[in-house]
């Protein structure tokens, strides 16, 4: 079977016309249908190539740190295992430490930066309480070991948790060198004093951590801790040379936690 050249050209021309005019015709017949039932980011969402945070320990006193922690824990329904709302949920002092849920917390210098301390270290470092959180590493070991891809790295650098997929194997907790992940040994709800009904809690048997407030960033807001930090915390886009974080990083000497491990942490500290 063969096709004449004239026939071929006619067919090719017609298909081209159909291809070009198809979408327009579709729009005429059923407006909006073609792009229907799709998804888009919220219109106010903040966008970045690489989110990062700078903690300025010169500006961060203990009161501000406590304020940041409180704002974070309130925004994300982070339970305080040491303070149950019902007496029946009370746990022993050892278990209060074991079951503790950490999103944003403080550590001493020698715990936050092990290996960096020495005998004759600056006096003030003995007293500073470093505000620590998930480092949203560029090379996150937690993501590499997760068997269900429940934790994953977004293209903008946030290391996210998909609680729906977490099976509670705790590989990620073993992999994370910063202790930034916590396992829900108990139903967290009896340990949440003040509840934020617009944010879910977690269930028994899943691992949770700081998410760089992806739910706030997607609404165009800064992370909860940054908002109440009186300028001690800076959050922004490393990919944008004009951004505030880049400015702060250019102007100051900064250190990162356990950078020698090669996880490329993206939370920077000005001491």
């Amino acid at each position: 079977m063969s096709i004449k050249r004239r026939e071929f050209l006619r067919l090719a021309g017609l298909s081209t016309l159909l291809g070009l005019g198809g979408k327009a015709a579709f729009e005429l017949i059923a407006p909006g249908q073609l792009d229907a039932q799709t998804y888009a980011p919220e219109s106010h969402a903040l966008k970045a190539k690489r989110w990062a945070m700078v903690v300025d320990m010169r500006k961060l006193d203990e009161k501000t740190a406590a304020q940041c922690i409180q704002a974070c824990h309130l925004a994300h329904n982070v339970p305080d295992i040491a303070k149950p709302t019902t007496p029946a949920a009370a746990v022993s002092p050892e278990d209060q430490v074991r079951f503790r849920i950490k999103w944003l917390w403080t550590e001493d210098y020698h715990n936050a930066f092990p290996g960096e301390e020495h005998e004759h270290i600056q006096e003030k470092l003995h007293h500073l309480k470093f505000l620590v959180l998930c480092n949203h590493c560029d090379n996150p070991p937690c993501v590499r070991v997760c068997p269900t891809k429940a934790t994953f790295r977004r293209p903008d650098g946030m290391v996210m948790m998909d609680m729906h997929r977490c099976i509670g194997c705790r590989y990620c907790m073993a992999a994370c060198p910063f202790g930034a992940r916590s396992f829900n040994w108990r139903d967290p709800r009896p340990y949440i004093k003040e509840v934020n009904l617009n944010y879910p809690t977690r269930e028994i048997g899943v691992v949770e951590k700081c998410t760089f407030c992806d739910e706030r960033v997607s609404k165009g807001q800064m992370p909860a801790c940054v908002e109440v930090s009186n300028g001690a915390l800076t959050f922004g886009d490393l990919g944008d040379p004009k951004s505030k974080v880049r400015e702060v990083l250019r102007a100051n000497f900064t250190i990162r936690r356990k950078a020698h491990l090669g996880t490329l942490p993206q939370v920077y500290y000005i001491v």
Partner: protein, 163 residues
């Protein structure tokens, strides 16, 4: 071949067909056991005999819905679609929001909605026990949404109590 009968089997010729005793051994125990088994298996049927399970009746009369003008009382998609596909829509929302960061849903008419169970669905359908649970209980499905996501019903109760 010699034979003394008219019936043959693999052992030889016989006068009569050999009879196997037709008897149920331990008849009492066997029949009794079978009866007990049958009763146990059909117990749920007997227990619910004569009981009428009311048909599910999801209520749409929450304050948030009633406050809307009649023509705006529509869900993100039309009712038939929602009845058949709400679970798939919610799963799609979950994946798009959590994994792709797409928090807005553009419906079949091109309108934008916040893709959120607690912060959008439950704002109108704040009556979980009168709405979601009606059909879910009837068909005995237990979606595990509520282990983490807040059903805003309790908030409403708390608010009315505060008033």
């Amino acid at each position: 071949m010699e034979h003394n009968g008219n019936y043959k089997n693999e052992f030889g010729w016989f006068a009569d067909k050999p009879t196997v005793p037709r008897k149920l051994f331990h008849a009492k125990a066997v029949v009794g056991g079978l009866l007990i088994f049958l009763i146990l298996v059909t117990a749920p049927l007997w227990r619910n005999l004569g009981k009428v399970v009311p048909a599910p009746d999801p209520k749409l009369n929450t304050q948030a819905i009633l406050a809307l003008p009649e023509k705006d009382r529509v869900c993100v998609e039309d009712t038939a679609f929602m009845k058949a596909n709400h679970m798939r829509l919610l799963v799609d929302w979950r994946d798009e929001v959590v994994r792709n960061g797409n928090r807005d849903y553009i419906n079949s008419k091109g309108k934008r909605y916040l893709a959120s169970l607690s912060n959008n669905c439950m704002e109108c359908h704040s009556n979980k026990s009168q709405f979601c649970d009606q059909c879910h209980n009837y068909v005995a499905v237990a979606p595990n949404c509520w282990g983490c996501h807040w059903e805003k019903e309790k908030k409403q109760v708390a608010q009315t109590e505060a008033k």
